[in-house]
Structure formats: C-alpha cells, structure tokens
C-alpha cells in the first residue's frame, strides 16, 4: 500500500471538473484508491464521493493506493494534483 499527502493548489479547489478527471484517471488502474480528508474516507473511484469532498485551495488530503499497479496509479494521480488540475 502506498500513502501520499497532497495539497490543493489551484484557486477553485476540487470542483466538479477535476473531481470527474480524478475518477477517470483512477478507473484506468486496478488498484483501490481512497481519499481521506478531515476524517472523511472516500472511495476515489466514486464520482459522487469525490464530489462530496469539500476541498478548498490549501486543504491537504491523504491518498492511499493498494493493488498490483499502485505505484503507477499513485504517480498519475499525485501528478494531477501537483499540476493544480491543469488550472494554474
């Protein structure tokens, strides 16, 4: 299992469009992917779950990846967070 901490760096935060993109990236991998924020534990492959996360600019999320392709999944998703959801 891989654990990563990421920060939301784009101004608009984790709004609907990046939420949809995160789920689409996660769906490409077999590994389970969960997002933790302030005690909320969300399956990262669930769009309705990710949409429910109130993640503003500056908020920190803990991501966990577990499965045969966890390394690749972690790289792809952490990279998307670090690119500020391509909104910088």
């Amino acid at each position: 299992m891989i654990e990563k901490e990421v920060e939301i760096i784009n101004n608009a935060g984790l709004h609907t469009r990046p939420a949809a993109t995160i789920v689409k990236i996660a769906a490409k991998f077999n590994s389970d992917f969960f997002i933790n924020k302030d005690g909320m534990h969300i399956n990262g492959k669930s769009i309705i779950g990710v949409m429910t996360l109130a993640a503003e600019k500056g908020s920190k999320l803990k991501l966990t990846f577990d499965g045969d392709d966890e390394k690749e999944a972690a790289e792809a998703i952490v990279d998307y967070f670090e690119r500020g959801f391509d909104e910088l």
Partner: protein, 149 residues
Amino acid sequence: MKNNVLKGIAAAPGISIATAYRYEKEVENIIDESIDNVEEALNNLDESIQKSKKELKKIFDLAVTKMGEKRAGIFEAQMMILEDPVLLDNIKERIKKERRAPIFIVDDEFSKYQKILAQSQETYLKERGHDIDDIKNRIIRNLKKKKWK
C-alpha cells in the same frame, strides 16, 4: 386579465414581452415499500438508469453546442454518477438484502451525500447538492414509470 408586478435584478438590459413561465421543482413522493421480486426490481433499476443516461446524453450534447465542452462538464459528471460503481453496488446490494423498493433505496443512498453537502458553509457545495438532487430525481421519475409487484 390579472396584472402582476414582479421586482428583481435585471440580468440583461432591455424590454421583453412574452409569456412568463413559473418554475416549480417537483418534489418526488417516496414510499418505502417491500418487494417480492428482487430480480424484477433490479431490472427496473437498470432500465431506469439506462433511460436516464440517454436523456442526459441528449442534454449534454445540446449543452456542448450551446455552452462549450468545459461548461457542459457538469452534465458529464452527472452521467458519471449513473456509472458510479460504489454508489450502484450499494444500491443493488441493499435492494437484494432489504427487499425494499428501488425508489426508496435510491433516494436513501443519494440523500446520504446530499446531507453532507447541505451541512457545508460554502454556497458552491450547497449548489452541488442540487446537481445530485437533479440526477436522483431523474432516476426516480424513470423508476415511477415502471410497475412491479
């Protein structure tokens, strides 16, 4: 003829003469019923979801033409909710285990997420709750067109 003066903020300058429509959101009546035929209920759920997908695809295509792909993205997210593996598995499992009408289970599962969003202080998150409400009501309307014992 009855005159009715409405006051508000002008969103665009000018004068317009036309028939006015009043928008009222229909509140779907949810009845908690037990079911005998689980298989039929699951088929009805599947068909209602497929029908909702077709309806949304039409709206999405129209929105892309009128608003552009980026702004039409909300409808794409709504379509993705109709394929959400976690949400759909929970709904199906509960129909099988609890033997209750799909309408009740759909409403109950969606409402969990709506409650979280409604508690938020942020306006945009409250509005996101309305997006989830729209998709929930679309499935429920399509389920109501079905009949089962």
